[in-house]
Subunit: 244 residues, 2 copies
């Protein structure tokens, strides 16, 4: 360790936090377009007490970054994400008392995620109708939505919001919810069929009108191209502890 008696720039006292923007899907009344929702946590202590904020926490010294994101995600929702990616680092000097550098991830949860029964001060919000948020979290959510809308155009990321089996109409509705505009069902069908990322099954969704074929993921295709970055550490399977 190099010690110096000169007055040097102060590099200690910077705290590192990890937060996650968690997107999921909520289907409303039958026939309505589904909406993108995210869970927020009501703050119970000082800066911005009472305001809604992104789930997060302090980074532990021995904890990988994506594990920290998965951990806070699991603590909030009790679930493991179907997709997790680093979003951005927000570290403006004035964004929080003291100097806090927030490493923000964004994640997808499959449709129908339920908050654990013991979850207090946690609630789902429609991204189109958010309350005032703590810190600069409104900007963060806005940027995460921008990233999601971009990524949906050139990757299979929308599949991360759906269960294992789904119809093409359900997949299209996910795209429509993210892009907030209607898509032509005929052209949409051809595009995803030509992309060779879906496997048709012999099962059908009945109950209304003509049955629709169910599709499933091609597990060999990644949800999104992450470039040369390594894959995230497998999140510890908090939601799978119950299996036999």
């Amino acid at each position: 360790m190099v010690m110096s008696t000169r007055t040097e720039p102060e590099t200690d006292g910077i705290r590192v936090a990890v937060s996650t923007v968690i997107f999921s899907l909520r289907r409303g009344a039958r026939g309505d377009r589904p909406t993108i929702v995210l869970p927020l946590v009501r703050r119970t202590r000082d800066p911005h007490e009472g305001r809604w904020a992104l789930p997060g926490g302090w980074l532990d010294r021995t904890e990988e970054l994506d594990v920290a994101a998965s951990r806070t995600l699991a603590e909030t929702t009790g679930l493991a994400p179907s997709y997790l990616e680093q979003l951005y680092v927000f570290g403006d000097v004035g964004r929080s008392p003291g100097r806090v550098v927030s490493i923000v991830y964004w994640a997808l949860l499959r449709e129908g995620a339920k908050l654990p029964a013991d979850a207090e001060n946690v609630a789902w919000f429609d991204v189109a109708d958010l309350p005032p948020l703590a810190f600069d979290h409104e900007h963060i959510v806005e940027y995460a939505l921008w990233r999601l809308r971009n990524k949906v155009g050139y990757s299979r990321i929308a599949h991360g919001l759906l269960p294992d089996l789904f119809t093409l109409a359900e997949l299209r509705e996910v795209y429509e919810a993210i892009l907030t505009r209607d898509l032509d069902p005929a052209n949409f069908r051809r595009q995803v069929e030509n992309s060779a990322t879906l496997i048709p099954t012999e099962r059908f969704r009945t109950g209304s009108h003509r049955p629709a074929r169910l599709y499933r993921y091609d597990q060999d295709v990644e949800l999104a191209d992450r470039g040369p970055l390594p894959h995230p550490t497998a999140p510890f399977a908090l939601s799978r502890e119950a299996r036999s």
Copy 2:
């Protein structure tokens, strides 16, 4: 401040560093395709002493993130970048002794950047022919190159490597250097002309064969779409202190 006597996860002792991958352009013998180059710093102290590393330094508690990136960039090259963007945060537990979270930026410098005369232990390297690097900097450079190659396809980012006036052939050579493949001059011309991001001037580059028209940037068009992110803080004009 909330104090606790329980044994809690340790969140102190994490250090925050800022590094920058700085790309510029080097033209070789006349007629050869230019190459993408970046400056590296030879480490003079312990972890990986003697190895080449990305320019960087510790984040000061009162310093904005992009200012820290600009600062280390200026300390290394004496110049201000034509483009600066956050790349990624690397924070693996094992990447460095102690826990270091590195916020990495990437930047472009216009062609022909010269290192300051007093620059010791700094040198330019062709990205296609790098020496072994310290820490995980090889992966970082690989990722930055991937981002550059992607971004060149959907933004005007290549202009950040050129001086104010340039020919279409020079611009095309930048694309070819980044993508490492030849482009059709005729089609390339039409693409950039249709993009309405260049303004033709009445000046021409002479000296060989038919003179080529010089173009300049349309200042109103951003180099790259940054989404809803705020623009970087204007880097303090270290290279412009001499004006009047």
